[in-house]
């Protein structure tokens, strides 16, 4: 099931924090955890191996900054390395003048090429271009019809040659090339500046069909070739991506079905083995479901750490700006008080359904449902925290360190909860505060970015009180989240 890498890494480093020295052995153990996480995410075996070697080497050379928790520092370096591996980001689409720019989509069967053609046409159309789609999948029954319908949906014309559609699955050699050639001529005639070719799905080991693609490429003069790849692909993604790239010299990758709960390691594998940029990700069956690729949220997703950034953004929108600013200031100084913490909690509960927020975490989809956590239970937690807080004296709130056993028992009685609930509450607060204090040495820009993490820390700790442990904030910077769209 879902395993939180952050949690496991924190465990690894907690063991050593007493001694304060990170040994090679510790790093090895941490790297082993990263390896497992990546393999669970379907990142290719070989890619994982090389990635882990790099991470290991990086970690060895690193100085241990005492004010930072080594676990988080390590995660940060893994995260950075992943982002690096997924970059450089280039979501531009090269066009030529005079046009038309010819784009060819290719990939295995069922990857989502036809739908992606429609999405891309819509995307380019919205950018002011005038695309023409070409139905060059003469193989699969009704593929041509599917593209025609998509064309209608997005308001982009489709070039179709019914006469060349395979009667019984046997496409004569050269038929697809002929259709494409005629389509490009048609595009010139009607002033289309982009031609998007939908090709039949094929296995990378099917020589005849791979030859067909090469023929289209060379004989038509294709400018851009995109490989469409299913984000749920497993270990084999490297084999197909490599074969397509070797034979066609791809220009970019499009990963589909990212609206699912897949961790999507195939993205990393394909990027790694082809060296070609990921241009877009598909996030839904509908024609709007295409997004320019951003690596940041993706690194977290692949590592199984959840879309922390998405949480932060969502939280940011709903937070009381003035109050937040005030808390922020204190945070920056490393002086989070219990009052601030409670304010933060109040803000968090304003988010409404924590369950919904939890569901934004990849891999957590349906998790709350599985655990049978109801929204009302979440609310109950916040109410309980509030009760504990209310039972504390002003002095105690100012200085929670003074809360010894008898005081905790008294507060518990007052709030109508168990003593351990009080302790847990204090612990949650301390975690947040300590995290802040450890940032004392960071520069302002760093603090600003880390601060947004802390906002989610509130959520995280709240979640923690339900046994969904350790979704603790890490050092990731605030970045665009990958919105989820559903039909």
């Amino acid at each position: 099931m879902f395993t939180a890498l952050t949690d496991r890494l924190n465990d690894v480093f907690r063991k050593i924090s007493g001694r304060g020295i990170i040994s090679e052995e510790n790093i090895r153990e941490a790297v082993a955890n990263v390896r497992t996480a990546l393999l669970e995410a379907d990142v290719n075996f070989q890619v994982v191996k090389e990635f882990c070697d790099t991470v290991q080497a990086n970690a060895m050379g690193q100085e241990v900054i005492s004010s930072l928790q080594p676990g988080q520092l390590f995660i940060k370096s893994v995260y950075d390395e992943l982002v690096k591996l997924m970059g450089p980001v280039d979501t531009s689409i090269m066009t030529v003048t005079p046009g038309p720019t010819v784009i060819m989509m290719c990939g295995l069967q069922g990857a989502g090429k036809t739908t992606t053609c429609g999405k891309l046409a819509r995307y380019l159309d919205a950018k002011g271009l005038h695309p023409l789609m070409v139905a060059a999948d003469l193989q699969r029954p009704a593929a041509v019809e599917q593209l025609r319908v998509l064309g209608e949906q997005v308001g982009v014309p489709v070039y179709i040659d019914e006469a060349r559609v395979a009667e019984h699955g046997q496409v004569p050699r050269g038929a697809a090339v002929a259709v494409c050639r005629a389509a490009v001529a048609d595009a010139k005639l009607h002033g289309h500046d982009v031609v998007i070719i939908d090709t039949a799905g094929r296995l990378h080991i099917d020589e005849d069909l791979m030859t067909e693609l090469r023929d289209i490429n060379t004989q038509i003069g294709v400018h851009q070739i995109f490989l469409v790849l299913d984000a749920m692909s497993g270990q084999d993604a490297v084999n197909s991506a490599k074969a397509f790239n070797d034979q066609l010299e791809l220009d970019g990758l499009i990963l589909t079905k990212f609206d699912s709960d897949t961790r999507g390691g195939a993205l990393l594998s394909a990027k790694y083995v082809t060296g070609k940029p990921v241009k877009f990700i598909g996030v839904g069956e509908k024609v709007e479901g295409l997004e320019e690729f951003r690596p940041e949220g993706m690194a977290q997703r692949i590592l199984g750490m959840g879309d922390v950034v998405g949480l932060v953004n969502d939280a940011m929108q709903k937070f009381d700006a003035a109050k937040t600013a005030k808390i922020n200031e204190k945070m920056l100084k490393g002086q989070l008080s219990l009052d601030d913490f409670m304010d933060q909690m109040a803000q968090v509960s304003k988010l409404g359904s924590v369950g919904r927020v939890m569901n934004m975490l990849p891999g957590m989809d349906g998790f709350t449902r599985d655990l049978n956590i109801k929204e009302s239970d979440m609310d109950k937690q916040v109410v309980r925290m509030r009760a504990i807080y209310n039972s504390m004296s002003k002095k105690e709130r100012k200085d929670p360190d003074m809360l010894d056993g008898p005081r905790r028992r008294r507060i518990a009685t007052g709030a109508g909860v168990q003593t351990q609930d009080v302790s847990q509450f204090i612990k949650q607060f301390e975690t947040s505060r300590d995290l802040m204090q450890s940032f004392g040495s960071l520069n302002m820009a760093r603090k600003m970015s880390v601060m947004s993490q802390l906002m989610s820390g509130g959520l995280v700790n709240l979640a923690g009180s339900f046994g969904l442990k350790g979704r603790k904030s890490t050092f990731m910077e605030k970045k665009d989240r990958n919105k989820k769209k559903r039909r």
């Binding site: 995410a41 075996f45 599917q146 319908v149 270990q235």
Partner: protein
Amino acid sequence: MGFFSKTIDKLKGALKKTATVLSTDVRTLFVPGRQIDDQFLSELEERFLRADMGIQNVDRIVNELRDRWRLGKIKDASECLGIVKEQLGANWPKQDRELRLAPSGPTVILVAGINGTGKTTSIAKLAWLLKNEMKKSVMVCASDTFRAAAVEQLSIWAQRIGVDIVKHKMGADPAAVAYDACESAKARGIDILIIDTAGRLHTQENLMRELTKIRDVVARRIPGAPHEVLLVLDATTGQNALAQAKNFSLAIGVTGIVLAKLDGTAKGGVIFAIRDQLSIPVKFVGLGETPQDIETFDPVRFIDALFGGEKAAA
């Protein structure tokens, strides 16, 4: 009912294809006389991981072998092969892999899966198999009324294979189509009704409920139906297949898996985890794009293929 797989095993044509695709090349790893050592175990691990068997599963198997080796119980690589094959193969009793047919009246097979796994093509294959090899009267039902040209696609297959089809317009209620198909199958005395459904992600709750509704409608029209609920998985899928199997099972009670696209270079090793954790057997494998490219699942051959050498990309 037990005769089903035997009948298919006679299909020479399809078998030939598997023989070449799922090559049984265990020589690279299990060289005769090779001693077990850490190197061997890590190669074995790699082979398993590459087959999408999942790190947890692989760890378990490899650790067990390592333990036995350390205790001196095994020392030759070939002993390993035997143990592994036995372990992996233990869970696939023959009766689990056979199609369940209704004792009387139409047998209903409901087919589902996420987008693009090969549902419609697999239905064409099943229809072909049942019609030509089992001499059954077959009807297909176009309950994918969502994806562009889905109805058209199934219609073309039905026509090519020569089986009946029940269809509505695009956008129609898929459960209503299934309802009509059930009535029609009964009226015409059809042996087997196969229902195509729209691809959907297992995480889309509303769409999963729609599937449940189709299932319920079918169950009300024909007692004991659906007799089979087949989940079509794409063999190239990684660990997410487990989540798919789980959620589809929750929604419609999956009785078997069709593992499509096994003619590529992917091995589909995730089915072992699905078998272990969810007790769902694999019933058929898809090996190409024509109706004849189907076979009943053969665990022995499948496991052999796991150890086969990586096919070099062309």
